[in-house]
Amino acid sequence: MTGSSMTLDQILVEALALMFLYSTPYLFAALGEVFAQRSGVLNLGVEGIMLMGAFSGIYVISSKGLGQEPMVGLLVAMLVGGLMGLAMAVVSVTFKAEQGISGIGFTLFGLGLSSLLFKSLAGGVITAQGEGFQAVTIPILSDLPVIGKIFFQQNVLVYVAFALVPISVWILNRTTWGLQIRAVGQNPAAADAMGVNVDRVRYSTVILGGVLAGIAGASLSIAVTPIFQENMTAGRGFIAVALVYFGGWSPWRVMAGALLFAIANNLQIWAQILDVQIVGQSIPPNLLIMAPYILTIAVLVFARQRKRLEPAALTKPFMRGEN
C-alpha cells in the first residue's frame, strides 16, 4: 500500500508547520550554547540540563505532580537549568576542569537524576496533555492560506524561541555585555587587561546557557511533546551543540541549522509513512532515519567554514598570566 491522497503542497505545509514546532527545543538549547561558547566555554552538559528542565517543568505543571500553571513550570525549569549552569560554571570556570569531560559528566548527572526523580516522584509516565502550553491561534493571520498554518498556529514557546534569535544577535553585537562576551572568548588576557572580569562574564553566559537549556527541555515536555519519559531528550542536547558549530556561532545560522535539521527529520518521517520509492524499491527506514544526520554532516563538511566567529579561547580555561 503506497501513496497518500495528499498533494505535495499539502504535505509541505504540514511539514513546514511541524518544522517550526520541532526545531524549538534545538533553538533554545543552541542559542544558550552560542552564548557560552562565544565566551569561551564549551558546555556539553546541555543534554543533562535539558533533561532536568524537561522533568522539573512537567512535574510542576502535571496533575500527577504539583498541578501548577505552565508558566510556573517554565520558571522552575529555568531555575533548575540556571542552577545546573551555575554548577557547570563552578567546575569549568573556577576549578578550570577540562570542559568536554565535565560537560559529559553533567549530561550523565542530568540523565541519572532526572530518571531517579522520575521514578521516585512520578513512578511512571507523566503526561500533561491540556496542562502545558497550547497552540495559540493568532486571529486573522492564522486564517491566511499556507502561512497561517505554518507560522500562526504554534504554541507561545515557538514564537519566543524565534524571537530570541534577533535578540541574541543584538545582545552579542550591540551591547557592552555582548562585547565583553566576545572579548573573553577571543582573547581573555586582553579583556582581563582591559578590566573585564573574565570569570564573571563566563559565569553569566554559562548560567544563561543553562537557563536556556532548561527552557529547551521544558519546551519539549510541556509544549512540544507534553509528556515525560526517562531520557526523553534522546541526544537533542548534543544536536544543539553540533548546531552551534554548524551555524558558525552565529544565531541566525544556528537557527537555519535547527530548521534544516528539523525539516530534514520531518521529511524523512514523511518519506517513511508515504513509502517513497527509488527505482521501485522502498528506502530502508534505517537509511531514512540516518538522513538528517548525514545531511548535517555533509553541510558541515562542504559549507564554507566561517572561522571568523569561532572563539579563539574556546575550551581554554583562563588563568591570569598564563594565556
Binding site: 500500500m1 503506497t2 501513496g3 497518500s4 491522497s5 495528499m6 504535505i11 504540514e14 511539514a15 508547520a17 511541524l18 520541532y22 527545543p25 530518571s115 521514578k119 513512578g123 511512571g124 509516565v125 503526561t127 496533555q129 491540556g130 519539549l220 512540544v224 511533546t225 507534553p226 509528556i227 515525560f228 519519559q229 526517562e230 531520557n231 526523553m232 531528550t233 534522546a234 541526544g235 537533542r236 527529520n265 520531518n266 518521517i269 514523511w270 517513511q272 509513512i273 508515504l274 513509502d275 524499491q281 522502498s282 530502508p284 527506514p285 534505517n286 532515519i289 540516518m290
Partner: protein
C-alpha cells in the same frame, strides 16, 4: 602468640564451616535480568520484569526468588559485561531480554555451564552449538498485531492508520508485520503509514512521528517500545484511537487505547525455575502465542467504538487460535511471486478452487498485488503439459511453484534439482523428497477423512430412506480419504444405513457424475455426497429430486443453497502462509503440512438448508470428538 594465632585459625575455620553450611542450604533462586530499556517502559522490558516480580510473589517473595536487574542496557558490550558479572556472582538464571544479546550469551553459556541462560526473541536454545544450559523464548507478536490491525482497519474513519515503530527488528517488526496484515485482511482500502524513529526511548520523536502521521490524515495509531507514550498522547490530543502491544496501556489512556496485546512471561520463568530444580539447565525453546503467554485485552469500556469492531477483534482472535488465519512473521520486501498449476479451473467449486482461493486470500492479507503476484495455469489434466508449465514458472524465477495435484509428483521431483533456488510444493502428498536429497520441496495433504466423518454423521441422521449415495472420482488421494471417513461417520450413526458407492473414473466428467447420482437416486438414495470438480452434475441431479448434498474441498452451497447441507472446506491459507514465511526466511522445502480440524485447515461450513438442531449438535460433537482424539477416523476402511 602462637595461641592467638591458633585461635585465629580456629575462628577462620569455623566461619568457613558456617559459610559452607549456609551455602549448602537451599537459598533463593537467584535470577538476573538484562533489559534493553527500563522496568517502567510500558513495553518489552516492563513485560518481563513484571513477570519476574509476579513469579517472585507467587513463589514466596525475596526469600524464594532473588531478582537483580540491569536496565537500559541497550549497549551489547555493556550487557555482556553485566551478564558475566551475574554469572560470576553465582546467579542461577541469567535472562538477556533481547535478540541482540545472543552471541555474547552463547559465549558465556559455554564458560558457565552451571548457570542457566535465557534469551529472546529467539527459538535457538543452543542445542546445535552443543550447549545444554540455554533457554530461548520466541513471541508470535504478529498474532496480536493482526488482531489489532483488523480492528484498526474497521475503526478508522479517515482510512489512514499510522504505525510508530522503534527500529525494524525484534518483536516490533513481528508486531508491525502482523498489524499490516490485519489491516489488509479487514479493510484493504485502508492505508498504513509506517515510520520508525530509530530509537526505543525517544518519546518526543515518537510524538513528532505520530503528529506527522496525524497530519497525513491518520486517526488510528499503533506503535511499540517505551517511546510510545509520546505517540499515544499525540493521538489522544487529536481525538483518535490507539492500539497497544507488549503491555496493556489502557489504564494510562482509558479514553484512547482500544485494545492491547500483552505478554506474560511468567510461565516461561516459572518453567525455567522448575526445570532447574529437576536438574535440567537448558535446552527448551519456548513460544509465546495466543494459546499461552500472549493475551488480548479489549478496553470495552471505551465509548464510541462500534460493536462490529469488537466482534471483528474477537473473531480474528478465534480464527488465529483455530488456525484459520495465519499471520506471517515476515512480509515480502518485493512482490512474492507464486505460480500454481492446477488440474481443473479456479472456479471448479472443488480442489483447484480451494487452492487458488487460498492464494488470493493470502495475497490480500499481505497487501494485494504489490505484495504477492499470482500466476496460474488451470485445466492441466495432461501431466506432460503440466510439467512444461511447472518448468516454465521455475525458469521465470517464481519464488514458489505449486504443483496442485498428486499426479504431478514425478515431474516435480525431476524438475526440483534443476532449480535449487526455487521452492516447490505439491499435494496431496507427504513426500518432500528428503530421502532423495531434495531440500526445495514442500508437501501438503488434507485429512479429508475428518470432515468426511462429520458429513457422514449428519447424512445418516438426515436420510429418511437410510440410503446414501457417494459419487467418487477415482479411489485415490484426498477423495478416497473423504469417502472412507464419510462411510465411517454414516455407519457410526446408523449401522443399518445402506451406502451406495460409485466411482466415475474421472475428475471432470460432470455428465457422468450426474448419471451416477441419478442412478443412486433411482436406487433409493435421498442424501448424496461426492468429490472432485465433477460434482456440479451430481448436485444438480440431487436438487432436481429435492434431496440433500454434502460437499467437500470448497463451499458448494453458493449455487445450490437449498440442496447443500454442509461442506468440508479446505483452508489452505495457513499452509500457503507458512510456506511463504519459510521461503522468505530462506527455507525452501522439507516440510509436510496437513490440514486437520485441529489446525483450522478443515472447516465445516453450512449451506442454506434449515438443519434440525439435533443434527448440528451431533456434528459439533463429532468435531469435538475428533479434535480431542476421542473419535479416531481411519484413513482406510477396516476390512469387512
Amino acid at each position: 602468640m602462637s595461641r592467638k594465632f591458633l585461635a585465629l585459625i580456629l575462628i577462620l575455620l569455623l566461619s568457613l564451616c558456617v559459610a559452607g553450611l549456609s551455602s549448602a542450604q537451599d537459598g533463593p533462586v537467584r535470577v538476573a535480568i538484562i533489559l534493553p530499556s527500563s522496568t517502567t517502559d510500558l513495553s518489552w522490558s516492563q513485560a518481563l520484569y513484571d513477570a519476574a516480580v509476579a513469579v517472585q510473589t507467587e513463589m514466596g517473595g525475596e526469600e524464594a526468588v532473588e531478582i537483580a536487574v540491569s536496565e537500559n542496557t541497550w549497549d551489547v558490550t555493556a550487557a555482556a559485561d553485566a551478564m558475566r558479572g551475574y554469572a560470576e556472582e553465582g546467579y542461577n538464571i541469567v535472562i538477556a531480554h533481547g535478540t541482540q544479546y545472543g552471541s555474547s550469551l552463547f559465549e558465556l553459556a559455554s564458560e558457565f555451564p552451571d548457570t542457566s541462560f535465557a534469551w529472546g526473541t529467539s527459538s535457538d536454545a543452543g542445542m546445535d552449538a552443543g550447549l545444554t544450559n540455554v533457554f530461548a523464548y520466541d513471541v508470535r507478536a504478529q498474532q496480536g498485531g493482526y488482531i489489532n490491525g483488523c480492528m484498526a482497519g474497521l475503526l478508522t474513519e479517515s482510512g489512514v492508520i499510522g504505525v510508530v515503530g522503534p527500529v525494524p527488528a525484534g518483536d516490533a517488526i513481528l508486531y508491525n508485520n502482523g498489524f499490516e496484515q490485519g489491516v489488509n485482511a479487514c479493510n484493504p482500502a485502508a492505508e498504513v503509514l509506517v515510520a520508525y524513529t530509530g530509537s526505543f526511548g525517544d518519546t518526543a520523536l515518537a510524538a513528532e512521528t505520530a503528529n506527522t502521521q496525524i497530519a497525513a490524515g491518520a486517526d488510528v495509531l499503533t506503535g511499540s517500545a517505551q517511546q510510545v507514550p509520546g505517540a499515544i498522547d499525540a493521538i489522544e490530543a487529536a481525538g483518535g484511537y490507539w492500539f497497544s502491544t507488549d503491555v496493556d496501556q489502557a489504564p494510562n489512556w482509558p479514553e484512547t487505547v482500544v485494545a492491547s496485546m500483552a505478554y506474560d512471561f511468567s510461565g516461561v520463568i516459572e518453567d525455567i525455575i522448575a526445570k532447574r530444580a529437576s536438574g535440567v539447565n537448558g535446552g527448551t525453546a519456548y513460544e509465546l502465542n495466543l494459546e499461552d503467554g500472549v493475551t488480548m485485552v479489549y478496553n470495552e469500556a471505551l465509548e464510541g467504538v462500534p460493536a462490529e469492531v469488537w466482534e471483528a477483534g474477537r473473531q480474528a482472535e478465534a480464527d488465529i487460535r483455530s488456525g484459520v488465519v495465519y499471520p506471517l512473521a515476515v512480509l515480502p520486501e518485493e512482490p512474492f511471486r507464486i505460480a500454481i498449476v492446477m488440474p481443473s479451473a479456479t472456479t471448479d467449486l472443488a480442489w483447484s478452487q480451494a487452492g487458488y482461493d487460498a492464494l488470493v486470500e493470502i495475497q490480500q492479507q499481505l497487501g494485494g498485488e504489490d505484495a504477492v503476484e499470482i500466476a496460474y495455469t488451470e485445466g492441466m489434466f495432461d501431466v506432460t503439459a503440466a510439467a512444461e508449465a511447472l518448468r516454465g514458472y521455475a525458469e521465470d524465477g517464481y519464488d514458489l511453484v505449486i504443483a496442485h495435484g498428486t499426479q504431478y509428483g514425478t515431474s516435480l521431483f525431476e524438475l526440483a534439482p534443476d532449480y535449487p533456488e526455487t521452492a516447490f510444493a505439491w499435494g496431496t502428498a507427504t513426500d518432500t523428497g528428503v530421502d532423495q536429497g531434495l531440500t526445495n520441496i514442500y508437501a501438503y495433504e488434507a485429512g479429508a477423512e475428518q470432515g468426511g466423518y462429520v458429513n457422514g454423521v449428519m447424512a445418516a441422521m438426515l436420510s429418511e430412506a437410510g440410503t446414501i449415495g457417494i459419487v467418487g472420482p477415482v479411489p485415490a488421494g484426498d477423495a478416497l480419504l473423504y469417502i472412507n471417513g464419510f462411510q465411517q461417520g454414516v455407519l457410526a450413526t446408523n449401522p443399518d444405513a445402506n451406502i451406495l458407492l460409485a466411482y466415475t473414473g474421472s475428475f471432470g466428467d460432470t455428465a457422468l457424475a450426474a448419471e451416477t447420482a441419478n442412478t443412486q437416486i433411482s436406487a433409493g438414495a435421498d442424501v448424496l455426497t461426492g468429490s472432485a470438480q465433477q460434482v456440479p452434475g451430481a448436485i444438480d441431479a440431487v436438487q432436481a429430486v429435492g434431496g440433500y448434498w454434502f460437499g467437500t474441498q470448497s463451499d458448494q452451497s453458493g449455487n445450490w443453497p437449498e440442496t447443500v447441507v454442509a461442506s468440508q472446506v479446505y483452508n489452505w491459507t495457513p499452509v500457503v502462509g507458512s510456506m511463504i514465511e519459510n521461503v522468505l526466511k530462506g527455507t525452501l522445502g522439507g516440510e509436510a503440512f496437513n490440514l486437520t480440524l485441529n489446525n483450522g485447515g478443515l472447516e465445516i461450513v453450512y449451506g442454506g438448508v434449515e438443519v434440525p438442531q439435533e443434527i448440528i449438535d451431533a456434528a459439533n460433537a463429532a468435531i469435538a470428538g475428533i479434535q480431542s482424539g476421542e473419535i479416531v477416523v481411519q484413513q482406510e476402511l477396516p476390512e469387512a
